[in-house]
Symmetry: D2
Subunit: 350 residues, 4 copies
């Protein structure tokens, strides 16, 4: 990509997308590469995914594998939001701040109505008060609600919180989308089942993230409410997201789900997140900003500490960081020595 | 993908996208998977691609790797076509018939003006006559021309043919796009240099295909006319095509270009195509429909021969095939025994 | 409008949109201007229109008045065509050539599949053969058919021709739109009832033109198939076509329909068209190109005759007219003396 | 419009769009209706408008007449906002709340970033802090700022307030749009010149409202920064807003501007607004919510007073009005007796 510059030398903790794929996912791709196969998702691996997901979610679901989370989110939202529709979401949500308008593009101009929530989560009360204007021709029409799990402040929606959001959503005849970019991390954090954290709590469509937690480029749109599937296959093709050799996306998901690799990876990342959080929290000059509930740690460092980290190869908030929150993310491949190195570098700050 | 059914058992020759990735590309992915790296194309492999492509094309180019050819085409066209613009293309072109309206989606409603051409190629005369209405507010505005190389009938545009199309295109102040889904096959067929077949002949933007010729999912938009780049990075992100672990797309292209793997693959596929074409052409009941100039063979089989092939596991035109043309495609991994098996199956038709 | 230049001095016959409004329509506006009224179409005149149209069409219809024909067409088509849908239409159709891509804009990227037809009309055979690819994810999806009545060559679809087009349309589960920019002229020409020329022949949605035939700026979308209405009200508002003082559009339609003003206007225009056509046809150097079936006359003049007309203030084909067809249009206000003046000017050509 | 129901009997004060056209505008239409004229804005009246507006604004401007304010706003914004762009506006702004997503439609998915402001106005400080993320591919890109004059709370931006907003806007290389739905009312209120209230204070493009202040359906997009005009003519045609008999929109503007009709109308409306405001303010149970600076009066009535008004034919906030603010609007045709009638009705509340 020509436009983007980087000076980052030590990307560890910058995000969980700096990690590569885990061995099991790589193996699955290598295995899928034997012989020829039918293109465009008509291969056996892609087909089997339907059953695999249905089993995991304890319900017959419809699954569309995609290569990016932004595509999964935007496509999912476009199935539940007309061009004149409102998507209610947190003001900090990835779909609002970090997808360069993908939901607007895919919905043909839908409006993201941003809510303040409490920390990173929507509240049912604010949501309920915000939904209005239904049937009045002057107003964009309430259509869908989107929550992020793990949410943008690293917190995890509890099951009853999801249920209450879903209740309000459905009371107004809207549909509920979950951006599960860190779905596995949330699941492990809650110690809940995939079914409990989704359709049993009222989620209608899920963006199932896998890239960050051990894949190369693999996500999936999971429809619990089948009547929403509609024209997804056409919209996906039309967006250039129906890959010809789709089997290699499906194979990643296959290797990811097999033998609970995904849950093991997430558990490891969460455990490392907890360790990192606790270690940092013990430092008198470092302030934890949000509770660490999965694999993201939000802290405030004093300025000279950030400068020291950056001069040692890390890159913490490139500009204007004073008073800003720094996010550190652990991944499936984070090791104790990575945490140690960070802490040591911090210690060296005088 | 839930919506699509298949009965295909022997996919060989169905397309070149039934093949997996070649060993060198797989190796490149495995290698890229070591350690962490900066996301969103800011990794070293992605950055090096700029130079690598510039070297291959003997000109400083701007390159955007993508995971699908439809995305590459639609994004490329959206940089040269406003929402009220005309894209002139062959009526059989992939962008017109096989991308479910992706160019229309990405351009925000651009119009594909379809030309008849001669066989699969546009002619400069028809193109010249079709372009009109510039500056008149009632008419969609002439904006871009798109040609496919190898074109949809398996023919290859000769260099002077490209030049003439480009001349007309530029005479009207439009821009020229080349859909190079089988770019390497055309290059080998013409025995031309990448520069000669593109910017030296007047091509402004190229969709550089690699998936079919040995990658998993890797294409690239190559800008020869830099002023067209414009907002491509934003449009790509907004479409969900800026993958977080972009290095794995770039790594494929890296392995593909290194040591002329791409040209070797294409030469092999073309050689196999020639063999297949000659073998079939010797059969008295089989009629060659278009000249075989790269790796696609278009033939007419008698009906009972198709039925025999299908009953032997092949799948040649599922329905209504009488009088229809069947396309057979060879790939980087096609072997002589595959051709022999096909011919033997044909021989068995009584 | 700053961008458009004109040298036209004698606009008579250039189109029927050069005429102003007829007295009855002007009266209706003046009357509607008394007192205040509810905005956005909630006024009594707008409401009464629903019944008025239902009576005229002998069926309960849903009507949306609009200020432009392009808006009526594009909105109508957007109710029956998804963003990945095909609209089948004549290659010469106004929606294809003269609306600067409005159908593509309103449908979010729909594709106009253009048919050759015979002269200006679609044929059921070509339509039938063109519709294909349903349910296949690679192809834009057949969605709607649009015919123009009076069509672009001045011919009028006969009732049985409409019926056959409708039959093919509905056989493929598509919907049929009629662009009735000159609806009244066609009606008078056929001596048919509004019901016969529309829903009784299979038309699902009509763009009811009135501007050209005696209004200032008034058209209407008329839904015979109510389930297509869908979100029209929102789409219209969102396009800026729900005028706040909508009563003045409705009042025009009211005055237009009252006392058969519309039919009288159209009859007059058609009669004048016939006279003009016959007069021109008698001239040995003038060739009638299409039969004159309503108020449009298509002729070929020799070049010097065109030059003479233009030098006398007319403006017949501004550029490159050799061998081109000139269209002359009569209107509700065309007078015998206008025809005489034209003929005299022609006579003066030496 | 079929979908919308009304019970309103006494629409006076409901809005200024309940009034018809003033006599001068009606006269201009009647006069423009004599004879034929060139369509699509190529008529003399439309052409003269360019000079007329340039004279009024003391600068050579480019003007596009439109039939609706929503169209004017959305078109104007689409010239300064790409599909991935941010429009900064007040959360209460008409473009955000009352145009059913028209800006999103016309920009192809632009994002309205809503600011809280102070009462109905944006503040330069909040605007300055909100603009960010330029050049970063993940974020929608800051593109334009839109303010409403008279703003949505009936307040008028002072010249120095506009200048400060413009300063911030231009500091970030964005463009400034003014939604002047009540432009004349603001002008009269400020006792400023059109130039002072627009380009001299930094406004780049203006939606010049005329409908509410004495026209039938006439607004205009006025470009002070000519390089923004771009493809407006095509975008307008494509949206169905280039009326064929455009001269009747232009004629309205002509009659409106001639002899300062527009300023006289606005002065009258503002005077009536002031009277209404003062009269209501004297009532001990009625609370003025915002200062009355033009022709809109925002008050809180006790519930039983609203009920009484409604039972006497007025319609003040149809539902859920407790604690809500009621807006009363005076117009060019409001008379003292209208105010008296309202006050008398209020007095009758026991």
């Amino acid at each position: 990509m020509p436009k983007i510059q980087t000076k980052r030398k030590r990307v560890k903790f910058a995000s969980d997308n700096v990690a590569g794929a885990c061995p099991e996912v790589l193996e699955a791709i290598i295995k899928a590469n034997e012989g020829d196969s039918t293109p465009y998702g008509n291969d056996p691996i892609s087909k089997d995914l339907q059953d695999k997901f249905s089993e995991i979610f304890e319900k017959e679901v419809i699954v569309f594998p995609t290569a990016s989370g932004t595509a999964a989110n935007a496509l999912a939202l476009s199935t539940m939001t007309p061009s004149f529709g409102n998507i209610y979401c947190h003001r900090l949500s990835h779909i609002n701040l970090d997808e360069c308008g993908a939901p607007e593009f895919y919905t043909g101009g839908g409006k993201l109505v941003t809510l303040n929530g409490i920390m990173g989560k929507l509240t049912p009360e604010e949501l309920d008060q915000s939904i209005g204007g239904k049937g009045i021709v002057h107003h964009t029409q309430p259509s869908s609600v989107s929550i992020t799990q793990v949410c943008e402040t690293g917190e995890v929606y509890q099951l009853d919180e999801i249920k209450k959001i879903a209740e309000i959503t459905h009371k107004h005849n809207l549909n509920l989308h979950m951006d599960g970019a860190r779905f596995a991390n949330a699941l492990v954090s809650l110690n809940a089942s995939p079914a409990e954290m989704t359709w049993k709590s009222g989620v209608d469509v899920l963006s199932f993230g896998a890239t960050k937690n051990g894949c190369f480029a693999a996500e999936a749109i999971v429809f619990f409410k089948k009547e929403l599937v509609g024209n997804t296959a056409f919209l996906m093709k039309r967006a250039g997201h129906l890959l010809s050799k789709m089997r290699f996306v499906s194979a990643q998901l296959d290797g990811y789900l097999e033998n609970n690799v995904w849950l093991k990876n997430a558990k490891h990342a969460n455990d490392m997140g907890k360790k990192l959080s606790e270690s940092l929290n013990q430092h008198k000059d470092i302030e934890l900003v949000y509770p660490t509930e999965a694999n993201e740690v939000f802290v405030k460092f004093p300025r000279h500490m950030i400068e020291n980290l950056n001069s040692n190869g890390y890159e913490m908030n490139d500009e204007d960081f004073e008073g800003k929150t720094v996010r550190l993310v652990t991944a499936w491949n984070t090791q104790q020595k990575d945490i140690d190195h960070l802490l040591e570098t911090i210690e060296k700050t005088n």
